[in-house]
Symmetry: C2
């Protein structure tokens, strides 16, 4: 009962909403980045696309797991599973933050540089993509913290 | 006694070493970045300098606190202080990671661009600065985790 009072941990509807948000924001980030044809000419943009390609299946799988857990009322809270989820979330949140801030700094440099580096139509897309990546990072950190909070209660 | 078995938390010699490492690496990062005269022309480099200017006093203060705590054998472990340290470490580690990855991506772009953007003598300095910032981030995350580990034991 005490465990159920942690909203946002695995198997709650708040967690389902967080995972769904992560999947949506990272898909949007990937979408806006990869529709600009020139993304592969900058390392940071390729990095962002790679990381978003990791975050999307991770969030989607965990969203399905949460949905299943809510529907059949079967708890998937085991110390091992939770540890894997916390570590996975932490690693992905670090990578997402690094990718998002790299992308943001590159966009800033491209906007300042004179010349045909950044047509306005593309730059707006890149900016939206970086903003979506930051939002996805925020939700991943939230998920990670909520699950970390639950971990000591399950261990003993 | 059980608390003393967490190496790296506030008031241990491991924590003192971690703080000293953070102060040294962030000072080195600031040093190598600000001796290149052109750092203020890129937002990411200014951001790195700002964050390093925050990390250095923070790490230095906590190193002194640890040293004092070791020398006079007076425990400074209180739930409130520890919470402030954990939150400060987390915020600073997030900012350091963002600054370091922004700097790294800008350096990568400067190295690829043709033209006089990055003279080799300056670029090496920028690269060393980014590497030092990453090392400082690693140590800050380690400090944060060790202290976070201790937090539940102190709360109740």
């Amino acid at each position: 009962m005490a465990m159920d009072s942690v909203p946002g941990s695995v198997g709650t509807s708040a967690s389902f909403a967080l995972r769904l948000g992560q999947a949506i924001f990272s898909s949007a980030s990937l979408f806006f980045m990869s529709f600009g044809v020139g993304f592969y000419s900058y390392t940071a943009f390729c990095f962002l696309v790679t990381i978003m390609g990791l975050v999307i299946p991770w969030s989607f799988t965990l969203a399905i797991l949460d949905g299943y857990s809510i529907l059949v009322k079967c708890s998937i809270r085991q110390s091992g599973i939770l540890l894997v989820i916390v570590i996975g979330d932490s690693v992905l949140s670090i990578l997402t933050l690094a990718a998002a801030s790299s992308t943001a700094s590159i966009i800033d440099l491209l906007l300042r540089a004179d010349g045909p580096f950044c047509p306005p139509r593309l730059c707006i897309r890149y900016q939206i993509s970086a903003a979506m990546a930051f939002l996805s990072w925020l939700l991943t950190v939230a998920s990670s913290l909520f699950n970390l909070w639950l971990l000591p209660a399950l261990s003993h």
